[in-house]
């Protein structure tokens, strides 16, 4: 079991989200970095979609009340277990009473704690993700608080062959981002597919989408990121009807400053869409803090599938390697 000793607000339990409930106006939700969660689970031999704790504000302190195999992936936040520093993207075993401290990340924005067997909370509408807006799912439908005690579900006991544990090459090193010709230092590139209203933007704006940098503003959270840069303009200002939207959609409100809807996006919206970031690159946005710079490149469906396959291959090889590094406990 894990006891939360200290946590800022807005840290929640999330899995890969809730699929199949859009008829109720319930969007997918789930983690902001799907690859980091899946990698943590792969290191522990859990299913990819097992729920983890998503930490987006720090510092976080927690205590393992009994021996627990766990992984910390995602943002590089100088995890310390009983005072010993853990490498990024690492799985190991905590002893009963060990404290884990996660500090503000040097790199990235959101860190994930996964545990062997997964957290023992009920699935609500097929998922353990916290639906903060309507207060259901996850841990009592709310963000984590100091004093919360989280149990884990039973699993086949194992030990790490090397008592230090096992690590993964962080996704940002193992899964390359798309090339972008005039990339400046520190910019993050994500691929997007043209959306329904792409052609209604003027030519300069269509060009600016991909040729100019976009700053992630402070109005950025799990629901979406507000960007600032060269305003994008449409040829005609036609109002849109409310329509269903997906995480990754790049909406352009009348101000011309784009919004990317993310994990906790409303299930529907009414702004025109210039593009949609591909599934395989959404995690890169989830790791961007306010102030970071984003670049878009347009891609084809074929390129999107190749990107998806690259992520899958990374996870599969990680799962295989991590499997070699564990053995069933006697």
């Amino acid at each position: 079991m894990i006891e939360i000793l200290e946590t800022p607000p807005l840290n929640t339990m999330q899995d890969l989200g809730r699929v199949g409930y859009r008829c109720h106006g319930i969007g997918r939700g789930g983690v902001m970095d799907r690859l980091a969660l899946a990698a943590g689970n792969a290191l522990l031999g859990n299913d990819d979609g097992e729920a983890g704790l998503e930490f987006q504000l720090f510092p976080v302190r927690l205590r393992f009340t009994r021996e627990t195999a766990f992984a910390v992936t995602g943002a590089h936040c100088e995890a310390r277990l009983a005072g010993r520093r853990l490498p990024p993207w690492w799985a190991t075993r905590a002893q009963a009473g060990d404290e884990l401290v996660l500090s503000s990340p040097r790199k990235g924005m959101r860190a994930y704690l996964t545990i062997a067997g997964g957290f023992d909370v009920p699935q609500v509408l097929g998922s353990r993700s916290t639906h903060a807006r309507d207060s259901f799912g996850g841990f009592h439908g709310r963000p984590l608080l100091a004093g919360d005690v989280l149990g884990n579900r039973a699993h086949a006991p194992f030990v790490f062959r090397d008592s230090a544990g096992v690590g993964a090459t962080p996704a940002e090193e193992a899964v390359p981002a798309a090339p972008c010709e005039d990339l400046a230092d520190g910019e993050t590139v994500v691929r997007a597919i043209r959306a329904a209203e792409f052609d209604s933007f003027d030519e300069a704006s269509q060009t600016a989408l991909c040729r100019t940098p976009w700053k992630v503003t402070a109005r950025s959270n799990r629901q979406g990121y507000a960007l600032s840069g060269t305003p994008l303009r449409r040829n005609a200002l036609l109002e849109m009807r409310s329509h269903a939207i997906v995480p990754g959609v790049i909406q352009v409100p009348p101000s011309g400053q784009p919004l990317i809807q993310l994990a906790e996006a409303n299930s529907a919206g009414g702004y025109p869409k210039i593009g949609v970031v591909i599934e395989a690159d959404l995690w890169r946005i989830g790791q961007l803090p306010p102030g970071a710079t984003l670049r878009f490149v347009l891609c084809s469906l074929q390129e999107a599938r190749a990107a998806e396959q690259a992520s899958d291959a990374y996870l599969a090889s990680l799962r295989r390697l991590a499997g070699y590094c564990r053995k069933a406990a006697a």
Partner: protein, 235 residues
């Protein structure tokens, strides 16, 4: 003011990719019950197609979500394009819910502004608004009463350019040619949120539309109808 003048109306249905894991069908023509009935039918049908993991009707549109690992979006888009013209309309008799509304006053504070915009008395707005039956056309932004269709076109009120902070819980609001009914306020959630809609009334006894302790959790479904009853008009 002519009604649909500033809203996109397509001559032909359009199917576009919505990222790498979804396809969006925008139906031709203006918003209409007959078209929306076809969208609901298409939604039910497509939900059974292999690889489709979810569908969501919008106002005159349908989003189809697939498993991005197995999906062939091009084939799905082609199949949607082919299927749509043959989908019939036809009414699934939805249930009717009556909701008592106090127009104006606290929670309906924008009624005078709306009345002034339409150059009439607040009571006239209440009468126009409560006249028709509204049909739940599409799921809303989160679980609730969804997007309603049926408002009297004379009540067309352009959405605010600059959003204001308003409490939406149990509120009756209008914007453009649409009207919304807010679910009861849930303790612990944000009371006021930014919105471009006008709050014209409150429904103190509005039932909870979504409750996970109920089976099924949803009180209303697409095609159900809502009738607003004028309980009082507060100036």
């Amino acid at each position: 003011m002519s009604v649909n003048s500033d809203v996109t109306v397509l001559k032909e249905a359009r199917v576009s990719f919505c990222g790498s894991a979804a396809v969006l069908l925008d139906a031709e023509g203006p918003l209409a019950l007959a078209t929306q009935e076809r969208i609901w039918r298409l939604s039910d049908k497509v939900r059974q197609w292999e690889g489709v993991v979810d569908t969501q009707p919008g106002m005159n549109s349908l989003l189809v979500v697939v498993d991005s690992r197995t999906a062939d979006l091009e084939a799905l888009a082609a199949r949607l394009r082919e299927t749509w013209p043959g989908v019939p309309s036809g009414r699934t008799a939805g249930r009717l819910i009556e909701v008592g509304v106090i127009y104006g006053g606290e929670g309906g504070q924008d009624l005078p502004e709306v009345a002034a915009f339409h150059k009439c008395a607040p009571a006239d707005i209440a009468k126009l608004h409560s006249g028709p039956e509204y049909t739940i056309f599409a799921p809303g932004v989160s679980p609730g009463f969804g997007y309603l269709f049926g408002m009297d076109k004379r009540l067309f009120t352009p959405r605010r350019k600059v959003p204001v902070m308003r409490a939406l819980g149990g509120g009756v609001s209008i914007a453009g040619i649409q009207s919304n009914l807010g679910k009861p306020y849930v303790e612990g959630t944000a009371k006021e949120v930014p919105t471009g809609w006008y709050m014209i009334g409150r429904a103190p006894d509005v039932p909870q539309p979504f409750d996970l302790d109920r089976t099924p959790p949803n009180l209303v479904s697409l095609g159900d109808r809502i009738r607003f009853r004028v309980d009082r008009v507060e100036a």
